[in-house]
Symmetry: C2
Subunit: 158 residues, 2 copies
């Protein structure tokens, strides 16, 4: 019973941010679990999913879709490419950009992995009423606005 672990845990957890973090962790853990058999990480799956909706997109745009930095996406793409799940080739009209698309193997793998990933989200949705889901989304979106827009007043004058 060193140091009243119970009490400390409460002190740490009361913050609303803790709840958000906890939920995100649980979501990531569960998705990782169902994706593991396919040898995919969550970011890898996310990239492939986005790629299935927007074939031939540039790495930078893909990064924006997945809400990560271009550097992060670059590492994800690199490992996917090394496994032959995606293919990159220089664009014909834009000498700079690398056109990225799922390989046949990638499409096949994604189809199977997506079923599992969707099932996780579905299990989540099914545990709530549609109203509750909408409410949750609305509250979270408001939180995002508060956190991003609010605060930093570093001369937003112009």
């Amino acid at each position: 019973m060193g140091t009243d672990e119970k009490k400390v845990a409460e002190s740490v957890a009361w913050r609303p941010g803790g709840a958000v973090k906890h939920a995100e962790q649980a979501l990531m853990a569960e998705k990782s679990r169902v994706l593991r058999p396919f040898g995919l990480t969550v970011p890898q799956y996310a990239a492939m999913y986005a790629l299935s909706l927007a074939p031939g997109i540039s790495g930078a745009k893909l990064a924006r879709l997945c809400s990560v930095t271009p550097q992060s996406m670059a590492t994800v793409i690199k490992t996917l490419e090394s496994r032959g799940l995606v293919e990159r080739r220089p664009s014909s009209d834009h000498a700079q950009v690398l056109v990225t698309r799922l390989s046949r193997a990638g499409q096949a793998l994604l189809r199977k992995a997506d079923a599992e990933a969707v099932a996780v989200e579905r299990r989540l949705v099914d545990a709530f009423t549609p109203d509750e889901i909408a409410l949750l989304r609305e509250l979270l979106e408001r939180a995002v606005v508060v956190l991003t827009d609010g605060g930093h007043d570093d001369d937003a004058s112009f």
Copy 2:
């Protein structure tokens, strides 16, 4: 305008998990921002905060409090120790465990950093009514339960 970016973004974002992830990202980004002047990352701050509530705790327990693996906590502690913000010494009664506590410099830094970190959470809380906060917490906690408990039915027979 390659590939209907707008449309794709919607398809990616509709999943409830996306909202949670987005909120968590915004929270992390904002906390990172206010912590940067102190040279602290969010995990480092979290560890120091927990350490302030439970001085002399073991690394493993600290990891549990912060919801990370012992390995992750070990790396965090190592960098904190290299900056003289925490001190570790072998326990007297348990030859195995390393007792970790904040140094004086660590306490001083935490006091200042904590004010900023709390301000972020406070800004978040102030943007909602108490009822809304409670509701958000309740929904998120239910989501956690669904994600962790539900699902894996690998023979819970006994």
